[in-house]
Each structure stands twice: as C-alpha cells, then as structure tokens.
C-alpha cells in the first residue's frame, strides 16, 4: 500500500495523537527514565509527521529531517541517561519529584 494514498490529515492527526501521548507521559510519570522514554515518543511523533509530510509533497526533506531528529534524540537520551545515572547515585531514587532543591 502506498503511503501517499493515506490522506495527510490522517497521518498528521495520528502523529499529533502520539505527540500528545508522549507529552502526557512526560507530565504524568515520576520516574526520570520513563520521562525520557516519553520524550522519545514525542520525538517519534515528530518524525512521523515529517515523513508523512515529505511523502505528501513527494520530497526527500522529510526523511532527512527524520534522520536528523533521530540522531539528535539519541544524543539527548545519552546525555540524559548519564544524568540519570548520577541522580541515582546521589539520591538513590529516580523519582523526579524528589528533585526540588531548586525552587522559589
């Protein structure tokens, strides 16, 4: 089945939904690890949107953006994991609600 046959609106709606699911995950999960994973979901939603838009316009740009986002997401996650490691070492927990030293 050709992706171009699927209306762009449907695809965009789908990616939007994934996007929202990811955001909801960021807001609701307390474990930093899950938050990072939710972020990945959000970024994947973006990727989907790019790819489908590229397909709609018949251009390669969408795919290129997809790859860019993918690689940058990876970098981001790796730094994030490094930080998670440190948090775990310092606090003995990954509960993000425990990180409230900076406030006011």
């Amino acid at each position: 089945m050709n992706a171009a046959n699927i209306p762009l609106d449907h695809l965009m709606l789908l990616s939007c939904m994934i996007f929202v699911i990811g955001l909801a995950g960021v807001m609701m999960r307390r474990n930093v690890l899950y938050i990072l994973m939710s972020l990945e979901i959000v970024l994947n939603a973006v990727c989907l949107a790019f790819v489908s838009a590229g397909a709609h316009w018949g251009k390669a740009d969408g795919q290129i953006m997809f790859m860019l986002i993918l690689s940058l997401a990876a970098a981001e996650v790796s730094v994030g994991l490094g930080l998670i490691l440190q948090i775990h070492r310092k606090h003995g927990t990954l509960d993000v609600d425990r990180l409230k030293e900076l406030q006011g």
Partner: protein, 537 residues
C-alpha cells in the same frame, strides 16, 4: 549545487570551530592539564574569530541551502565568539581551584559555540534544528557539569544535576514542539527553507485547509523559540537552571544560547516581512506583556542573585519582543513607513543584552571563583559546602563595594544597564525599543514596559544598595527591615580575585559604559549590516 573556494572560505569559521573541538578533545585524552586545554580553547576561538574577521566585508553567500554567511552572521558570530572566549576565561578561573576533572568542559563549550554559530547563519529549518540541538545537548552536559568530575562524598553538587535534568526534560519538550511546528509548516507548504516557506505563505499557495497547519506550525515554532528565550509561559526552567548551573555556564546559558536564538529569529524575521496574522500579533503581544511583568515580579524580592538575574532575563526577552512586535505591526499595517528601525532595535538590544548579562554573570562567576579567604561558618548556611557554593546569596554582596570596589562597580554598572539607566548600553537598547514601539504606536505595550521597568528598578537597586551599603559601625542608625537581606550575620564568601579576572571585568564594564555614552559607531554598523541585508534580500 556548487561548492567552491568562496564557499569554503565562508564556512571556515564553522570548520575551525569543529576542528578546535576535536583537537581539544584529543588533547584532553593525552594531557589533562587544565591551563593548557583552556588556552587551546581560547586559541581555537581566537582563530575562528580571525577567520570571521577575514570575511567581514564579503557579500552574502549561500553555502548549501542550509546556511547563508553574510554580514549579519559574521557580526553576530563575532559577538558569540567573544562571549565564548569570556566564558572560557571565566571557566578556567572558576574550575581551576575546584576539585575534579574539568577539561572536557571546554570541548562542550566549543561544540555549544559551534551550535550557536550554525544557528546564526542558518536559513533553513534543518540547520536551525541542527544548530539548536548541538547547542542544547552540549548545554545539558554543561549545566550538570561538575557532576562528572565528582569523585567522592556529599550531596553538595546535587543542584547542577537537578538543573541539568530539568533543563534536559523541558528543553526536550521544547525542541519537540519546535520540530513538530516545523513538520506542520512543512506539511502546509512543502518547504523547509525560510524563504521558501515565506513565499508559500505569502502567495496564498497554501490550501485553505492547510491554514490550520500553518497556524499551528507557527505557534509551535514560536513556543519552541519562546522556551529558549524564557518567555512566559515557557519561562519556569530559567531560574532553576541558572541557579543550579555553575556560574560560568550560567553566563554562557544566559548569553550565547539566548543570543543565538534571538539572532535566528531576527534573521527569520527579515524573511518574514509582510502580513502577519492578527492572531499571532495578539498572542505575541500578550506574551510580551506578561513576560515583562511576570519576569520583573518574580525577581522582586528574590534573595538569590543568580535567580534574580534569571528572572530579569525573562523580562528582557519580553522587552525585545516589543521590538519584534513593532516590526510585525509595522510590516503588517504599512500605514507607517517602517524604515527598519524595529530590526535595528532588535539587533542593538540583543547586543546590549549580551554584554550586560555577560558582565553580570561574569561578576558572579569571578566572585564565585578562587579559594575563599574567610571560612564560611557552618551554622549559618545549610548543607552547602563553602568551596562549591557559588557566591550568589544576597548577603554575599553586603557592602561589597567597600571590600571589592572594582567588582562591585562593574556589577553595579551591569545592573544599571539591565535597568536601563543612561550612561549604559542598556539605556540605549531601551531607547531603541521605545523608538520602535513609538513608530508602530504600541502605546499600551510601552506603558506596560514602563510599569515593569518600575518594578524592575526595585530589585536592581536593592542589590546595588546592598553592595554599596556602608559597613556596620561606620554610620549611625541601621538599615530597615524592608530591605535587609536574609541574614547579615552569615559570613559572606570572600575570595581572592586575580588581576586578570578583574581587568577582564573592568573591560566589560568599560565597554558597557563606552557604548552607553557613545553608541554611534555600533548603531551605524548595525544599520549598515541591515541595509545590506535588505538590499540583498
């Protein structure tokens, strides 16, 4: 697509920065010598600056569809590099006496600068996103930096980690929004370059049903941008991250990272001359007004200097948005002949902002560096160790002028510049904003600006006063409760300051004053560049 010698030459600064970061990384692997690495970094930045200088006069040149090197990018890249060099010096001074391994920091600093330079010259969403992420990912690590060098004990360094992870999560959301916005615009127009999108949007080529995409995309992109600029409601990370990060990194965060984003939207703005949807203008107006007010309100009685400056940077973003709005209104209405004063205002203001915050955070950083002379009494503070704590409590600045007249004076100059008091570049920036606002008749917004400046005065002056307050015993009477900082009993951190750092700060303060008194050349330069841009565009 052609790529010849001129293109290579144009790209040279970027290449030079890349090479520098690789070289520094390699050197770090072999020689763990702080001074050497810092010097190498400086050298790399210096060479890049020289490359920039060499192409300062050239005509605009597009290198691939992604980037365009022109006088605008050269001018602002130069400022970024200067700021990066100052931050390098500050970091060297700051981390020199702190324990742990800190050489990798410079690699990150270089890559972050690289990201900023890329952003400044990008004319395409791909390079925009790429530059932004290079910058951001480096910053995640930089903010949390001391953690990596931590070898033992205590929770004292918890705040940088906390700041880092907060920044990472929130910036992740913001980048995702930005990217989603790009995707939407892409879906609406099929273009990813600024000019292409502009053409498509302008020529009504966008299908009616796609208007929603375009609008949604613009708003999402604006949200991503607003996050970097710390505009309300995307501002909440600012104080925590500025507070938690080591002082030199905060300086970098407040200046280079924000500056690059501002330049980028300035460039995008140059493309986006024409009608702006009324809805967008309304939203931006609201965001600008609220940012000015909320930023200043939040800082009102803040006792932590870094947080206070963070809040103040929120309001500054609001101010600069006024100039953007003026441009939007002017190019929309076309009733008033715009003459581009708004763009000049933006350009001038961001330079003034860069200098001012660099100086302010620079002073905080210098004061936080070095070995302390007076030991910090345990019972007065919390669990924060004296050696790693930054000098950012209001009580640390008590009567600073009488102990460290130079640093206090420079800090006062920076604060007054932030407040927009004449004789400083901050005033000229504000003057520009007013001029822009007046040409577009944004009377109400300007009144909000005035009101929020009034609020701002309170905390700037409060800090200035704390610094200049006569030491105890020299004067009859005591300061009253209203203004007194948290505990005057807590011993303030007093550290040695090397001559070099002092001169660096004096230099920055001097530049603020010089450009405040005699801004003509800078104004002329900016106008030249923008006129050239208009001719080219």
């Amino acid at each position: 697509m052609n790529f010849g010698f001129p293109h290579f030459m144009a790209l040279l600064p970027v290449i030079s920065l890349t090479v520098a970061s690789v070289v520094v990384m390699l050197c770090t692997a072999f020689f763990r010598r702080h001074g050497l690495i810092a010097a190498l970094t400086l050298l790399g930045l210096g060479i890049t600056l020289a490359c920039l200088h060499q192409q300062s006069g050239i005509a605009a040149i597009e290198v691939t569809p992604l980037m365009q090197f022109d006088r605008l990018s050269v001018f602002f890249s130069a400022w970024i590099l200067v700021a990066a060099m100052v931050v390098t010096l500050l970091s060297w001074h700051y981390f020199r006496t702190r324990e742990g391994l800190s050489e990798e920091l410079y690699v990150l600093l270089l890559t972050a600068t690289l990201g900023a330079v890329v952003m400044v010259s990008s004319i395409h969403f791909a390079s925009f996103f790429l530059g932004l992420e290079i910058l951001s990912v480096s910053l995640f690590a930089l903010v949390a930096y001391p953690v990596t060098s931590l070898t033992r004990k205590d929770r004292s360094a918890a705040s940088p980690i906390e700041a880092g992870i907060k920044y990472l999560i929130l910036a992740g959301i913001a980048s995702a929004m930005l990217a989603m916005g790009m995707a939407f615009l892409y879906a609406a127009t099929g273009e990813l370059s600024f000019s292409g999108i502009q053409t498509m949007l302008q020529t009504d080529a966008v299908h009616e049903s796609r208007n929603l995409y375009a609008m949604g995309g613009i708003v999402m992109i604006l949200a991503g941008v607003a996050f970097k600029l710390a505009l309300v409601p995307f501002h909440m990370w600012t104080p925590d991250v500025y507070h938690g990060a080591p002082a030199p990194v905060t300086a970098f965060l407040a200046t280079v990272s924000k500056f690059a984003m501002l330049v980028l939207i300035l460039r995008a703005f140059l493309f986006a001359r024409g009608d702006h949807p009324e809805a967008v203008i309304a939203v931006v107006t609201g965001v600008a007004a609220v940012s000015m007010l909320v930023g200043n309100l939040l800082a009102l009685q803040q006792n932590n200097v870094k947080r206070m400056l963070a809040y103040s940077s929120i309001s500054h973003s609001g101010y600069v948005l006024v100039a953007f709005l003026a441009g939007m209104v002017a190019s929309t209405a076309n009733a008033i002949k715009a003459e581009g004063i708004e763009v000049e205002a933006i350009a001038f203001y961001i330079v003034s902002y860069l200098l001012t915050s660099l100086t302010a955070f620079g002073v905080v950083s210098v004061l936080s560096s070095g070995r302390e002379r007076v030991s910090y009494s345990r019972e007065s503070g919390g669990n924060v160790d004296a050696e790693t704590r930054d000098t950012d409590g209001l009580q640390d600045y008590e009567s600073l002028f009488w102990k460290r007249p130079v640093m206090a004076s420079v800090f006062a100059i920076a604060l007054l510049s932030s407040a927009g008091i004449p004789l400083t570049i901050g005033f000229m920036g504000k003057f520009y904003i007013f001029a822009a606002g007046v040409t577009s008749a944004l009377w109400w917004l300007l009144l909000v600006l005035i009101a929020s400046s009034g609020i701002g005065l309170f905390y700037y002056l409060r800090l200035v006063l704390v610094m200049f307050r006569l030491p105890e015993g020299g004067h009859d009477g005591h300061g009253e409760e209203v203004m007194a900082p948290a505990q005057t009993t807590a011993a303030a951190l007093v550290r040695e300051i090397p001559v070099g750092a002092r001169w660096l700060m004096v230099l920055l303060g001097g530049v603020i004053l010089w450009l405040g008194v005699y801004p003509g050349p800078l104004m002329a330069e900016i106008r030249d560049i923008l006129v050239a841009m208009r001719v080219a565009g």
